[in-house]
């Protein structure tokens, strides 16, 4: 399949894949960077966002309502999770944090399976974005094209929040040194809650945006979580721009490898991660000392 036409197509497809990965990874990396908690429930929350949107879509028939529901429901869930459970684990060892978030992910997945069954559910893309677009060098599903734009806007919003607001400044300061921020008289506790909520919202938003592409099943979060980790590790833990770059790199690796041998697409992704870890142990844009 080595042809210029296919190369161009795959290059573009890699961008589209990468945009979505970047969005999911940014939620994970912000939470980890600020709170120091590696949230293993992030994949399950991505899945929950999809289902919350599905319920709203079933009830209203509106995709916009679905996106709003998926995002807000997960924002609320994130805050509740943080207040009731996660905050008691900030001071505890990483193993405990991993176990509790992993446990939560099992609860989420099984709850969804219990209520919705294992059968997959479909959310239709909005009528505006249905069909195929002729891009000249290739045909591409219109909705996937839209997703690239939607992800870009969402990432821009996240960027503005993180880099152009007071909250963002505190969050970024928290990533560098939470103790110092706390001693400057800022209510870190409150900030942490908001950050967890934002991370959860990013996961929920990505979940419902992704739903029309792959349809929903209780397990959709598991696979995406693994890829998201790879993205975060490549980009640098805690780095928002790192998540974006890592996402795009991962998307391109998957797409371009598949051109040569599709069986090796994911092998190459992990090989790339190993390579980054060897050359830059903190990831491309990560800094030593960040936890």
């Amino acid at each position: 399949m080595l042809s210029w036409a296919n190369f161009g197509s795959q290059l573009f497809n890699g961008l589209a894949l990468g945009a979505l990965l970047a969005l999911i990874a940014s939620g994970l990396t912000i939470i980890y960077g600020t709170l120091g908690v590696l949230n293993l429930a992030h994949g399950a929350m991505f899945m929950l966002g999809g289902y919350a949107g599905y319920v709203a879509w079933q009830a209203s028939g509106s995709f916009l309502a679905a996106v709003a529901a998926g995002t807000l429901a997960l924002g609320v869930l994130g805050i509740v999770m943080e207040r009731l459970i996660v905050r008691y684990f900030y001071a505890r060892p990483h193993e405990d944090q991993l176990l509790v978030t992993f446990g939560l992910s099992i609860v989420f997945v099984e709850a969804v399976r219990w209520y919705f069954s294992s059968d997959s559910k479909t959310v239709q893309a909005p009528a505006l974005f249905q069909g195929i677009t002729n891009m000249g060098f290739m045909f591409y599903p219109t909705y996937r094209l839209a997703v690239v734009g939607i992800c870009a806007v969402a990432l821009l919003v996240l960027f503005l929040v993180l880099y152009r607001t007071r909250l963002g400044m505190i969050v970024r300061a928290g990533i560098e040194d939470a103790v110092m921020v706390d001693s400057l008289g800022i209510n870190v506790d409150r900030v942490f809650m908001v950050v967890f909520g934002i991370g959860a919202m990013a996961a929920g938003f990505a979940g419902i945006i992704n739903a029309p592409i792959v349809s929903l099943a209780p397990e959709v979060g598991e696979q995406i979580l693994v890829q998201t980790f790879v993205v975060v590790v490549i980009g640098g833990v805690g780095s928002f721009p790192g998540a974006v770059i890592g996402g795009l790199i991962a998307g391109e690796i998957i797409s371009l490898t598949s051109m040569v041998n599709p069986g090796y697409a994911y092998v190459m992704l992990f090989a790339a991660m190993a390579l980054v870890l060897m050359v830059r142990p903190h990831g491309l844009l990560g800094k030593p000392g960040r936890e």
Binding site: E219, I254, S255, P262, G263, A265
Partner: protein, 450 residues
């Protein structure tokens, strides 16, 4: 030292005691029970005789209830449940397939113990190992993935407990990974290819360019190999691309991009379960379908329901069973009616395979007159002609594969459907024997009985 001495003498003493009891037993036992006492001549093997001493015998089922193949796994499970119910009550349909069946099997009631395998070999083997230890299961089944079936074959041979495969499409299950203790009812890559091949050549002509989507494990590789080889050899079709993806993949965009740029005219989708649903839906999103003709070389239960008749219309598929065969075969009608009454929908081929595989086992046990595994295996290997939902069938003794027809179906247009589950019309029922490779062609060596 003292203890050591005691052990040294104990075997002799045990022999004496056993001989004494044996003599006494022989004198006391009435003639009717003598036959059963003869069974004790065999040394214990696997879960026998421990597993058949109570009023009930257990069958271990490891079937995917979560993950990519969950929907198909549930359908299979319903087939096994119906079979157990029919065996325990001596239902008429069961007696048509297994004429010696009365109530239960050898007078014992059957009980299923079920675990979720998530279509993972490791999970399936662990669950069945537990059933062997805890329930002394006398038969194992399950698989909606040939990776599981192959692993279960090995477990069955090692533990000397019979295994009858669930859905398993790989050539290897009764090919290079066949075992003495494993049996398969359903069609597989090679018979699917040889059945659907001529149909495709007739429908689409010679010298076409074909693209494959293949799940990356034994089922996918063997089905793609058999199908592409047939079409190349007999019709000069050229495989322009083969997109191999991991089981459980969700995003097929990069594979479909390659296919879109490959110049193929026919897309043969070997993906299965939810993977098949997602890859087919995404193929439509990418405009690959309807630009290319879709072919399903190995049918997926509920595919049409999930992708919709708009997408499945005109699609050729090879399968084990489709419910409209009830018009042609009385047993199919009985099965479909009984299944619908119990479960409320038309059974897919996973349920049919499940039901039939238990009926075959019951027939083998009843003819052997005992649960003793080597005798049951030999009974299977007699190759008796059995009635089935697709006519007469028999087990091939060299590789334990059922010789059975392959059913070719074509997707109906939405407006041609008589009810909402009337997705396919049966175009052909291709006799099984000529579809099969020579028994040793795929490297089958069955192994030992004991």
């Amino acid at each position: 030292m003292k203890q050591h001495g005691r052990y040294r003498f104990s075997p002799v003493r045990r022999e004496l005691v056993r001989a004494g009891f044996g003599l006494a037993g022989g004198l006391i036992l009435p003639a009717g029970l003598a036959a059963r006492a003869f069974g004790a001549e065999h040394p214990p093997i696997g879960t026998w005789p421990a597993g058949v001493q109570g009023k009930e015998v257990f069958i271990g089922v490891a079937v995917p209830r979560t993950g990519t193949y969950a929907e198909q796994g549930e359908d299979e499970l319903k087939g096994w449940q119906l079979a157990v119910e029919h065996l325990n009550s001596g239902h008429e349909l069961m007696r048509k397939i297994s004429p010696k069946t009365k109530k239960g099997v050898q007078g014992k009631q059957l009980k299923l113990v079920v675990a979720d395998s998530a279509a993972k070999p490791n999970d399936a083997v662990q669950a069945e190992q537990r059933f062997i230890t805890e329930n002394k299961v006398i038969l194992m089944t399950g698989s909606t993935s040939s990776a599981v079936a192959v692993a279960m074959n090995k477990l069955a041979q090692r533990e000397k407990v019979l295994y009858t495969a669930g859905i398993s499409g790989s050539n290897d299950t009764t090919g290079k990974d066949c075992v003495r203790y494993g049996f398969r009812q359903n069609f597989y890559g090679e018979t699917a290819a040889n059945a659907i091949g001529p149909v495709l050549l007739k429908a689409y002509g010679k010298n076409k360019k074909m693209a494959f989507m293949t799940p990356d494990y034994t089922y996918g590789h063997t089905v793609t190999k058999s199908t592409s080889e047939y079409l190349k050899e007999h019709g000069g079709w050229e495989m322009v691309t083969n997109q191999v993806s991991p089981l459980g993949a969700t995003d097929y965009s990069s594979y479909l991009t390659n296919i879109a740029n490959s110049g193929a005219e026919i897309l043969l989708n070997v993906n299965w379960g939810r993977d098949a649903v997602l890859s087919t839906q995404q193929a439509k999103q990418f405009g690959v379908i309807p630009k290319m003709k879709l072919v399903i070389p190995y049918q997926i239960p509920f595919l049409a329901k999930n992708i919709g008749a708009e997408l499945s219309q005109g699609v050729y598929a090879a399968t084990d069973f489709w419910w409209t065969l009830e018009d042609k075969y009385p047993l199919a009608k009985m099965f479909v009616d009984a299944f619908r009454e119990k479960h409320g929908y038309y059974p897919e081929w996973g349920a049919e395979n499940a039901y039939m595989s238990f009926a075959m086992w019951a027939d083998a046990v009843e003819h052997a007159g005992s649960f003793y595994p080597p005798d049951v295996i030999k009974s299977y290997e007699e190759g008796r002609k059995l009635q089935s939902m697709v006519g007469e069938v028999y087990v091939r003794k060299e590789d334990h594969q059922l010789v059975r027809p392959v059913v070719i179906v074509r997707g109906k247009a939405p407006k041609a459907m008589r009810n909402k589950e009337d997705f396919w019309e049966v175009t052909e029922v291709v006799p099984g024997a000529p579809l099969m490779q020579k028994p040793d062609a795929f490297g089958c060596h069955l192994g030992e009985y004991t």
